[in-house]
Each structure stands twice: as C-alpha cells, then as structure tokens.
C-alpha cells in the first residue's frame, strides 16, 4: 500500500512514506454511506454506532493518514490530547447544570427550562413570552 518515500524533500519537509491516499479516501466515502444508511435500519443503537462510532473512525483515519499525526513529534499528540481533555472537563463541569432539573442546593427555574424544552423561543412565533424573575 505504501509508496516509496522521496529521497530529496525540499527545505521544511521531512521525507516519509505516503500511503495510498485514494484508498483512504475510498474507505472514508464508504464509511460516510454507512453512517447515512444507519438510521434507515430504525434501531436507535445502530444509528448511534453508525453515526458517532463511524465519525470517530473517520476522524482517526484523517488524523493518521492525511495529517500524519502518527509521525509528528510525540508532544504534538500530547497537546492535542490535552485540548481534548479540557473539552471533557468542560462537559463534566457544565453538564449537571444543563442536563439536571435540580441539584443539592439549586433548582432550575421554570422559565429557563421552558425556553429550551419548547420548539420556539419565548415571545416568538406565538410562543408565550416568559420573562425571568427580577433579580432581588
């Protein structure tokens, strides 16, 4: 699958082996069509796997074969992973406020919950205009 590396890369390039990029593209396209076909099965878990599982595989293929992250300096992988960890920390820190209606010392105000649950924003297209309670 690999083609020969170029012996004399110009300045600023390191020589490395190139995979068959057309083949990688073909795999990415095939995965795209599987992810689109997934929902037609009508089973929620299949949709989730074909949508998000395949998205992770596609991102891995692009990062490895198109971005060549596997042959970049190790610390590149480390700071990319650090950015991803920050994303997870943000999610873990904010998710309880967004996803739960109440906590140990707080309760989500009805006006806030209603504006998200509804398909329209308050006061728009006939939706009831609800105002947040005035600050004391």
């Amino acid at each position: 699958m690999a083609e020969h590396a170029h012996a004399h890369a110009p300045e600023g390039h390191e020589s490395h082996e190139h995979p068959n990029y057309w083949r990688i593209w073909g795999i990415l396209c095939a995965l795209l069509f599987v992810s689109v076909a997934g929902p037609f099965v009508g089973i929620k878990i299949v949709t989730l796997i074909t949508a998000f599982g395949i998205a992770i595989v596609k991102a891995y293929l692009v990062a490895k074969y198109f971005m060549h992250i596997d042959i970049a300096a190790k610390y590149v992988t480390y700071f990319i992973m650090t950015a991803l960890v920050f994303m997870v920390l943000f999610f873990a820190g904010a998710a309880p406020d967004v996803m739960k209606p109440e906590g140990r010392n707080w309760e989500k105000p009805a006006w806030l919950d209603g504006s998200i649950h509804g398909t329209m924003s308050p006061g728009e297209h006939g939706a009831p205009a609800e105002e947040p309670p005035a600050a004391h």
């Binding site: 890369a9 390039h13 593209w25 990062a63 971005m67 700071f79 998200i116 398909t119």
Partner: protein, 194 residues
C-alpha cells in the same frame, strides 16, 4: 528570496519540527477547545431535550451528505498537494491546492446559496429555537473556517506554482484536514441523529 533572509518560522526546527508546522498544530489545539465547547454544549442540550430531535428532523441529510463528500474529496486533494510539494513539484502542488479551494467554494456555495436560504424560507431562522441557534452558530463558524482556508490557499497556490515556499502547502493542508474533522463530527450531530 535566499534561505538566509527567509522568516525563521518557515523552516527552523528547534522544537523538533519546522516552527511553522508547530504553529499550525498549536492553532489546531486551540480550535479543538473552541469547537469542543460548542459541540459539548450541543450534546448536553440534545441529550436532555427531545425538542432538539424534533427540530433536527427538518435538516436535509442529503445536502449534508453531499457536503461531507465534497469536504472529504477536497481533503484528498490537499494531501495529494502535500505529496507533490514534498517531491518538489510546485505546479502539481498548486493544481491540487486549487482543487482543494474549489471543494471549499462548492461546500460554501451549497450552504449559503441553497441550504440556508431554503431553511430560512421554511421559517427556521437562528432565533426560531435553541436547536436552530446551535445549528446556525456551529455550521456558520465552521463555514467561516472553510472560507478562511480557501482564501489562504488562493494566496499560497500561485507562489507554490513557481516552486517557492512549498512547505506552506503542507501547513494549509493540516488546517484543512482539521476543518474536515470538525465537519465529520458536525454532520452526525446536526443531520443524522434525529
């Protein structure tokens, strides 16, 4: 321009790789935090509010599919440009960059000239609901990155065609692949998971 007078960020390798490439990876790490926050917020709301699924049913999966195919193909052109640049073939690298830019323009044209006008005409605007706010914000920020990439490529390609500054072909390619990866996650979130 002689090698001695070129910017040190172009090819200097004190960090174990050309500094220009390190800078692009650094930009990508920052962008992960920007898009990660946006996608993370979307996922929180999507999981806790069924209304999101009802609204997502109105997005057009076929347009999303075509645009994904366009971006994947433009990424192929970008990496073939990188390969040509590495071989010192400036004209071929430039051709691939123009093809990549054409992919970006096609993506943006489909979005701004057909998809969004259709949705807005049907009454789905950025203020219609929280879902549509996320939809236009996430897809809009991504599209802004696509347009920025196209503009940069159109600056780089004519220089590369002369066989100069070929390392830039790889650098813009790295950025472009990242834009592709962001779309790879936006596509199932906004179009598939209904």
């Amino acid at each position: 321009m002689s090698a001695a007078s070129r910017p040190i960020a172009t090819t200097r390798s004190s960090a174990g790789m050309p500094t220009g490439r390190l800078a692009v990876w650094w930009v990508i790490a920052s962008e992960i935090v920007i898009f990660g926050g946006l996608l993370g917020s979307y996922i929180m709301f999507r999981l806790s509010h069924d209304a999101f699924a009802q609204q997502a049913a109105h997005t057009n999966v076929w347009i999303g599919t075509v645009n994904t195919l366009v971006l994947l193909t433009s990424s192929l052109a970008a990496v073939l440009g990188h390969k040509a640049a590495e071989a010192g073939d400036g004209p071929k690298a430039a051709r691939q960059l123009y093809l990549t830019a054409l992919g970006g323009l096609t993506f943006a044209s489909i979005k701004f000239l057909y998809e969004w006008p259709t949705e807005i005409h049907e009454g789905f605007t950025i203020s219609s609901s929280t879902f549509w706010s996320f939809y236009y914000t996430a897809a809009g920020i991504h599209a802004a990155h696509v347009i920025a990439g196209v503009v940069i490529m159109l600056f780089i390609a004519p220089v590369a065609k002369k066989g100069l500054e070929l390392q830039r072909v790889e650098l813009i390619g790295l950025y472009w692949h990242f834009v592709d990866v962001v779309w790879i996650f936006l596509f199932p979130l906004l179009y598939i998971a209904k």
